[in-house]
């Protein structure tokens, strides 16, 4: 019930703003680098939504290769300001991260099944907050450069191939909290 009320409130806000300002469709595609303690790896995002005055609101997805390959799904909000030649913007997004692998078997050698474990990866939270520069390159198209603090949570349950003293499978739950720098370049209209 609360969720429904929240959605209705947000929708009415957007509608109210839209009634005062023109609403445009907005889309951006970004590739970039995720840099953290564990690794440096690539990332890809695509965000589709609406642009109202200086605000952009969109739904994004992509590929996040950090820690584990996953597909994030998030809501993205951006506010643009500054001169038209080099516009600044701040943004934030948040959503759910969906790991691509699940129940993956690990074995040191094909016949050494004793050391096989099974894994269950869980959907977890992800989010970003950062700043960017946007330079128009055509009337509608802009080049974006962003730098952001990017967060991703990975949780998985490992089930060992042997039992504990009580006859239950040995399990370990792992939680990784990735806090990395996201540097991206992309196109937006």
């Amino acid at each position: 019930m609360k969720t429904l009320l929240l959605i209705l409130f947000c929708s009415s806000c957007v509608k109210s703003i839209a009634q005062k300002n023109k609403v445009y469709f907005s889309s951006s595609a970004n590739i970039g680098l995720l840099v953290g303690e564990a690794q440096k790896t690539a990332s890809f995002q695509i965000i589709n939504g609406i642009k109202i005055d200086k605000w952009r609101l969109g739904i994004g997805t992509g590929l996040d290769n950090y820690g584990t390959k996953s597909i994030p799904a998030f809501i993205d909000v951006r506010y643009t300001y500054g001169a038209k030649k080099w516009q600044h913007f701040v943004y934030a997004n948040g959503g759910i991260d969906f790991p691509l692998y699940n129940n993956f078997f690990r074995g040191s050698t094909p016949n050494n099944n004793f050391f096989k474990s099974t894994y269950k990866l869980y959907n977890s939270l992800c989010g970003e907050a950062g700043v960017g520069l946007s330079k128009p390159i055509t009337k509608k198209l802009s080049l974006n450069l962003t730098a952001a603090f990017s967060y991703k949570h990975l949780q998985y349950l490992e089930t060992k191939n042997y039992n504990d003293v009580l006859g239950n499978k040995v399990t370990n739950m792992y939680n990784f909290y990735y806090r990395r720098l996201a540097l991206r370049v992309g196109l937006q209209f």
Binding site: V35, G36, E37, A38, Q39, G67, T68, K69, W86, P99, Y101, F104, R106, N111, N112, N113, F114, K116, S117, Y119, L121, V131, L133, A147, F149, L154, Y156, E158, K160, N161, Y162, N163, D164, V165, L166, G167, V170, T171, N172, M173, Y174, N175, F176, Y177, Y178, R179, R180, L181
Partner: protein, 423 residues
Amino acid sequence: MLHQHLTKKLLLVAMIATVVSGCFKDTGTKTYKLYTPVYQTTQAVRAAIKNDAPQPISSVGKMVLYGNFIFLNELNKGIHIIDNTNPASPVNKAFIKIPGNENLAIKDNMLFADCFTDLFAIDITNANNIVLKNAVENLFPERRFINGYQMDVNTVITDWIVRDTVVNITIEEGQGIWTKNGSYLTSGPWAWQFASVASSLKSTTGVNGSTSKYAIVNDYLYALSSNKINTVTIAQLDNPKLVNSTVNNGTIETIFPFKDKLFIGAQAGMFIYSITNPASPVDVGKFTHARVCDPVIADESIAYVTLHSSQDRCVGFTNQLDVVDITNVNKPTLIKTYALTRPYGLSKDGNLLFICDGNAGLKVFDATTATNIILKQSFPSQETYDVIAYNGIAYVTAKDGLYQYNYKNANNVQLISKIGIVK
């Protein structure tokens, strides 16, 4: 001007980046169960051996049939005594608490059961007052080590305190990354799983299943360690004594007696020992196979060996029944192989062969002709472990309980009862 403007911006960004760089940290936690043993002295454990009130069965281990009773092991905890006077309605009557118990055998009202390293002789003549009579100490020395702990000579682990424990993981470059070869791993606490006692013809001797590590033949109890056949004289039932240990390097796991032979199932194959001199088993023949687990039973001329592979100790890809000609015990030869799902315990009565085929459940075969064993019936269930076919009833232990099937009509085997486990 623009150049200065951009330079200032870049400097600002660099400053901010430097300040916030401390925020770019990867951290992790691992949550696992920590097991802390509860110790008791061996004297206290032995003093507590008695028939307690019946307890719900939470897991099913080895079993022995004795008269109208089923003695059912619960791994590492003890033995349930089930009144099976009416197989359609078995009644859980009592529980004997024996920490570390895995195997059992019964002869003439004397229950032989292990308690970690020791073999107990427990008089069960008076059902209301069972008495620990004696112990053969340190018969199974490998069982002194459990879950990374070593028990002292005078102590046993009777219980475990289990606690969820969280530890922090430090992530450096290359760690905390999921790859197709796995991710950050640490080793956790682990324990081997051991899987009762058998004899077939004497009415005063319990009947064991094919997965048993104990066998009673006349006045001797043969008890397997990981690499030894321990020969224990039970001529004096209340004073068992170790008389011999025969080494076998094949990781032996099951024992089946037939007349003057012991058929040993090992990961490397089936071994045949002569007990013409019962105090000293002699290796007379073997049938080797791929490294898997293999309970074995035998009759006059044929041995039936189930081979199974799994994700635990029995690594490999072989799941089958081997029918072996043992007419010449010195040179057993394979007659035929039958593919199965994941066979484990088996039993034979007349021409009916019963096989516990893992998750495929109990299967009943017509084994009249060794080269043409035919499946007659199957009973899918949760993973099945062992079966004893005796006097028209097939007793089956499975992951979810103890089943009994009536096979007096060989063409229409029927489930007559089940005791389920209680978690």
